[in-house]
Structure formats: structure tokens, C-alpha cells
């Protein structure tokens, strides 16, 4: 018995001022008629207690959708979405459930940005990092500085953002569907030197749905979940080198070796909350050795990534998995792919935890 993604839908990542958690849940399942033909629901969401004063979100969503099937919520910071897919895969491959709906939901635009920034910062250790004024962009800036000391040029990080914006122009559900230029970095707001707003993800509300089933569709429109794994890293301040994202690198290396894959050829969605992170990971894996040519990668963050598709925190992993599923079985926006494998990577904070999913057509 295996685990297959057989169906899915997403709403555009955006500032949905008129939509709350329940509205976003309704919007996405409306686009996916067989998404409610399930015997279990796993909701992934990171911040509802903080942004919507809601405990037990999953039960209230099930009641609102008029589907009183068993439901549970998964939360693991920025990796909540992939954690939910991982749980759904276990439920069906163990034989306990037949079809599980994974529903990624996040509502983050109801407050001034500095308030949401604070909620988001709580993915770090509140007592030992956040109280000490340490925030996610501060770590990203320190990673960036260390990479630059190691010879990576500023333009390399900028080129990631430029590429992501370019990719997002052909993705209907992306939040930022416009190109940016290298010049725009000069005027971009500094978050934490040398990291700018252009090096940061786009924060938006989102909802994404996937059906994980114990059997494939009879037609070709399903993919198998062949690998799903998690690795917990060390707190960033305890590391020998802060830019060594060892949990992510270990998992990616393991999965590439096991399936004989090359990131230059395979569909890949990397977690790029801040531009230094994918650059650090690709370099640790042996890519970008002689420079920073992202065009060497055929299907790298086709969606535009967290940078431009956007980052609805606890829902993002479900978006990523949906995007790879669509590329493998059909098309994503105007993009198609001729390869059999797709890889999804998610991490929370500076590699506090990392998750990798491999899908096969």
C-alpha cells in the first residue's frame, strides 16, 4: 500500500482582506470537488492562535464546511505544510485511512506588519532567542554575511530574487507577478544589514488543498509520495558555522543519492524564506561552485518560491507539494516539465527543522 497525491487546488497567495480562515478553507475546497470525498482531514496552520484568537481551528473548519469527518491540525512552524503531507501519507500507507485531505491555511494580513513580524518571529525560541531581540531576518543576515566572507557575491543573492520574480510571472496563484531588476536592490529597505526586503519572502494569506490517497488515480493524473523525511537541526547560535544548514543538506543529499537525482534536472521547490538560505544549501550540495548561474537548473522553484509566489507560513508546504504535483501530472500556470521526479524542501527558521518530500510520476 502506498501514498499518492490524486487531487488538489490552491487560492492565490494575497492579502485577502475579506476572507478569514473559514472563508479561505471554503474557497479552496470549492475549487476541488473531490477534496471532500475523504475519511480524514489534516489541517496545517502555524499562527491561528496568534492571528485569529482561534484554538482548535481544525474542528471549527470542519464544522463550517459541513463535513464532520475526523480532523486534526498539524503545526511545525514554517514546515507545517510538509508535516501535514507527511502525516497524511502515513495515514493512508498504514492502511488506517483511504483518502486524506491536507488543507494548508494561513491568515497573516490582519495586523500592521510589525505585529505579524513578531508573530512570525516566534518560530524561533521565545525564551532564549526572541526575548533577546533575535529575529529570523537577523539570522538570515548573519548567514548572508558568512557566505559573503566565503566569497559569495551580493549579486548572487539578488539573482535568486530576480529569478523568482521572473518565474512567478507565469504562475496565476503567485502573490508577486512582476519582474524586479538588480537595480531595485539599491533602494530596497534594509531589514538587517546586508539583508533587504527584496531578499525576503512575500507574506500573504493562503489556502492549499491536496488529497492523499492509498491508491493512484486510474488515469495518469496522480503522483506517488516515494520519500518523506524530517531532520531537526541544532539551534543556530550553537553551530560552528551559522551558514551550515546541516539538517536540510543531510536530507537533500540523502534523497538525491537514493533516487539518483540531480537538482539541475529534477523539479525542485526549495524553501527560500530569505535569499541566503537556498544559496547556502545549493553550495553545500556542490552546486553554484564556480559562480551563481541559476539558469543551470531546469525546474528550480518554478512557482517563484516563497520569495514571489509568497509565504502563507503554515500553508506554504502544501502549496509547494501542489505545485510539484501539477508540474508532474499536467502543467503549472503555463509551465510544463518532462521529468519523472519532483522534490519539495521546507524548513523552519534557519534550519531548525527541515523536511523533504519526493514525488514520482
Amino acid at each position: 500500500m502506498g501514498a499518492y497525491i490524486v487531487s488538489g487546488a490552491v487560492v492565490k497567495v494575497d492579502r485577502h482582506f475579506e476572507r478569514g480562515y473559514r472563508d479561505l478553507a471554503y474557497d479552496v475546497v470549492k475549487e476541488c470537488p473531490d477534496c471532500l470525498d475523504v475519511d480524514y482531514v489534516v489541517i496545517s496552520s502555524a499562527l491561528p492562535e496568534l492571528t485569529a484568537h482561534q484554538v482548535d481551528l481544525s474542528t471549527h473548519i470542519a464544522q463550517w464546511l459541513g463535513r464532520r469527518v475526523p480532523v486534526v491540525r498539524v503545526e511545525s512552524g514554517e514546515t507545517s505544510g510538509l508535516a501535514a503531507v507527511d502525516l497524511a501519507a502515513s495515514l493512508v500507507s498504514s492502511g488506517r485511512n483511504r483518502r486524506v485531505l491536507v488543507l494548508g491555511l494561513e491568515k497573516v494580513t490582519d495586523y500592521p506588519t510589525y505585529v505579524t513580524n513578531y508573530f512570525y518571529s516566534l518560530i524561533l525560541d521565545y525564551e532564549f532567542e526572541v526575548l533577546r531581540s533575535v529575529s529570523p531576518p537577523a539570522y538570515a543576515a548573519l548567514v548572508m554575511k558568512e557566505l559573503m566572507r566565503g566569497g559569495v557575491k551580493r549579486e548572487c543573492f539578488s539573482s535568486w530574487a530576480v529569478k523568482m520574480h521572473e518565474n512567478a510571472t507565469s504562475i496565476p496563484h503567485a502573490m508577486l507577478r512582476f519582474k524586479i531588476s538588480y537595480d531595485s536592490f539599491k533602494d530596497s529597505q534594509v531589514l538587517a544589514e546586508p539583508l533587504t526586503l527584496h531578499d525576503s519572502f512575500a507574506l500573504g494569506d493562503g489556502a492549499a488543498a491536496l488529497v492523499v490517497s492509498s491508491s493512484p488515480n486510474t488515469n495518469a493524473s496522480s503522483v506517488e509520495i516515494v520519500f518523506s523525511a524530517t531532520e531537526v537541526g541544532l539551534p543556530a547560535y550553537l553551530r560552528e558555522n551559522i551558514s551550515d544548514l546541516t539538517a536540510s543538506v543531510k536530507l537533500l543529499k540523502l534523497s538525491l543519492e537514493r533516487y539518483g537525482l540531480d537538482l539541475k534536472k529534477v523539479i525542485t521547490e526549495l524553501h527560500d524564506s530569505y535569499t541566503p538560505y537556498p544559496i547556502a544549501i545549493l553550495r553545500s550540495l556542490g552546486y553554484l561552485d564556480g559562480g551563481c548561474d541559476l539558469n543551470e537548473f531546469e525546474y528550480l522553484n518554478t512557482s517563484g518560491g516563497l520569495k514571489a509566489r509568497g509565504h502563507p507560513i503554515g500553508a506554504t508546504g502544501v502549496y509547494q507539494a501542489y505545485e510539484v504535483f501539477k508540474l508532474l501530472t499536467d502543467r503549472l500556470g503555463s509551465k510544463t516539465a518532462s521529468t519523472d521526479y519532483g522534490l519539495v524542501h521546507s524548513m523552519s527558521g534557519p534550519d531548525n527543522v527541515s523536511r523533504v518530500l519526493i514525488l514520482k510520476r
Binding site: Y114, S133, V134, P137, A192, E193, L234, A236, Y237
Partner: protein
Amino acid sequence: MKLSPSQFWRIRESQYRLIITECGSCGRKSVFKRSVCPFCGSSNVKHVESEGFGKVLDVTKVMYRWNSSDERPPLLVGVVELDEGVRVVGEIVGVGDNEEVKEGTRVEAVLRRYASDDPYGVIYYGIKFKPIKTA
């Protein structure tokens, strides 16, 4: 009230003092008073107090506002290596207009305000770092 006096009271030793956890199994040291070594998981640990001196390994000037406290940007956040060979992350304060904090700058631990509720509420204090003035 968003701050809890009892939450902070529980972690007072790690916030008011620089406690180092030394592992009797793997020999590695980590900051904060811990029951378990974060490197190897052993609970064969003992605690010693740092002298409070060290050097900046790296620092970033944080320019954006990310909380509602009265800490307004810019602020300096860095990784400090204590003379005991242990790393800790935190804010660097008391830097004069003409001073520069960079890799290698010597710092000492000082007790400063971390957060507060409102003008009449709870105030948390804890360790930050200050450059050591050289003549």
C-alpha cells in the same frame, strides 16, 4: 498582560546570569542552564558560570521593526563567543556614535531591559553585551 512573571522567573538563572552547561559525555559546552546536552542528549551535565567576557563573532544591524515593545530600530544583534569557548546570541548595546562593532570586538555581559508590558506592567531584564572600551 502579555508577559508572565512566572514564565520569566523559571528561566531567571539563564537570563540574569551566563550559565554554561558542560557535558560529561561528549565534552562539549553550551550556553544556558540545561538538563540535557543539546549536542549529544546526555544528562551527564554540570553547570558553571561564565566570567562574562567574550568577542563578537558576527553582528548585524537590524533596521526593521518587528515587535511592539519600546525597542525601536536600529539595534545590533550578534553572535558572541565567550572566553570559555561557548557561543551565545544577543543584543549589543552601549555603542557610541563613533564606535564600530565588528568581528573580533571585545564585549562584556551587562544586565539590561528585555521587554515590558506597558508603562505600569511587568519588565523583564536579562543579559546583553556591551563593547569593552579600550584606551
